[in-house]
Amino acid sequence: MIKLDNICKYYQTDRMETQALRNIDMDIQQGEFVSIMGPSGCGKSSLLNIIGLLDEPSEGQILFDGEEIQFKRDKELAQVRNQKIGFIFQSFHLINDLKVVDNVELPLLYRKIKASERRRMALEILDKVGLSARSSHFPSQLSGGQQQRVAVARALVGKPALLLADEPTGNLDSQMGNEVMTILENLNSDDNTTIIMVTHDKSLAERTTRIERIFDGRLIH
């Protein structure tokens, strides 16, 4: 599904160049649940951002379903992000001024879907993550675990083929983290959704089908 070929990422600062990723090769198949582990600052999130088309590699190429995509125009990249990729962030990134259901609807705003249909889809997915009763609440009225479940619902509402989760349980206690992890596991096994998850937690990583380790910007095999 995703093939990374010799991906490098440099960051240029005033005085020096920092190499965040070095010669990353990776092949991820449809239906895999991959966890990426490594110490802080090793390049995990940089790699996830590149896979999620939020950032461009300095060198190398990405193939998404066999198609090279990093040279596509902004509008086309936005479309791929919208239709094929779902994001879950460590700090949830919910819009506090919007109700839960409106937050979940956000990705659908960028598709040509009627308002009533958007609402139906959002409520359906909220039901799936066990939050249908909270659809009219605002994020600040929910616990951390519930907020992350809303973020999961938002990532899933557009039925993406690929889910990218950047330390999804990082801000949650173990019980809530476990709840979110269970949702991801079910999603992977039931819907065959490909998931790439960045995590520090070894026990969570061991629940995935494959673990990739990064150290100092390189994949360690």
Binding site: G52, L54, D74, A78, Q79, N82, H93, L98, Y110, G158
Partner: protein, 413 residues
Amino acid sequence: MFKGYIYLTWKMLLRDKTFTAISLFGISLTLCVLITISAVFDNYLFHDGPEKTNNNFLLVRNVIFEAPEQNFKSGKPGYIFFHQILKKLKEPQLTSAYEGGLKNITFVDDKKYTHSYCYTDANYWKILDFDFIHGRAFSSMEFEQGSKLAVISVSTARDLFQEEQVIGKIIQVHNQQYQVIGVVKDVSSYEPVASFDIWVPYTTYPSLQYRNSFDGDWSALLYHEDKKKLPAMKSEYTSVLKNNFEPIGPWFSAEGIAETKYDRLGLTLYSSHYREADASSFVKYSLFYAFLIMLLPTVNLVNLNISRIMERSSEIGLRKALGASRNQLLFQFIVENIFLTVIGCLFGVLLSVLIIDHLAGIGFVRSAPISFNLRCVAYALVWSLLFGVLSGVLPAYRMSRLHPVIALKKEKI
């Protein structure tokens, strides 16, 4: 999607009330100035007095005459010019010539009154829609016969006779006695073609010399009941001057335009030279001055917007991650800004209603009433849209180009 943008903007406005109040204050003040100026222009263009027919006539009042050796004269022509030109025109249904701007001084009970008077013909009354309180205008026959009849404004009647019903009474104009046959409502000075106090037939001029005079203060009206004929009348007039001009005295050629109401405003406001005055110059200069008025508040609002939008960089990063393209974000933030300016516009309209009401109350321009009408609301909407786009584009553009990864690193949404 649109509803969502508006809802989010509303929430943003409520989030930082001081900031919102400052923004709205700037917007409403700017729009208030623009709406008030628009209302003044509106009163110049759309009349409810005799010139309410101004969509159906052209005014000829300025001509450039050229003589050999690069000698030329610019200004209002003498009667002979109109006599010669108007009879050649085929397009107008009616033509009328008048000489206005003359002053008549009268003493009543040791009190001095100065009234403006106008020599004109019978068609003048057919072209302009005067509101007669008493009596009537002079007819074509009375005009041809040189009957010494006058129409006066109601204020003039009150000045001279301390009453309004003065039909049959005698007034003295330019050392001649005229019988009053009509009393009309006062005319606003926004309507310069009709804004006089006394009207008499020009066939009653004290001498016939005016008929051969090159000089004078004459103007003419070219009328057609179908306003679509105005362009044809306009080009016919220009063409006659250019190709069919018979020399008058030393002047062997003439140049000029027959002005629509927009041309007249363009000339009055922005040019001392008739060649540069037309409807497009009115629009062009109006937009230029409106832009100048908006410039400083726009820069101010741009800065406010940039800091407001940058507070939302995390949301921008999120929206990009969820599939919003740069153009969609650009659109979203412009819509949000237009919404903000429309709210400011509501306050601006309220403020300008108060100001216009005050200006009308104190008689800001003598005998020129200024009023707020539905068209002013339309101007307000146009200005707020323009202001919203002007002040929203730059911040929205900068924001839409934020790198999503950097934007997402900001925690606050």
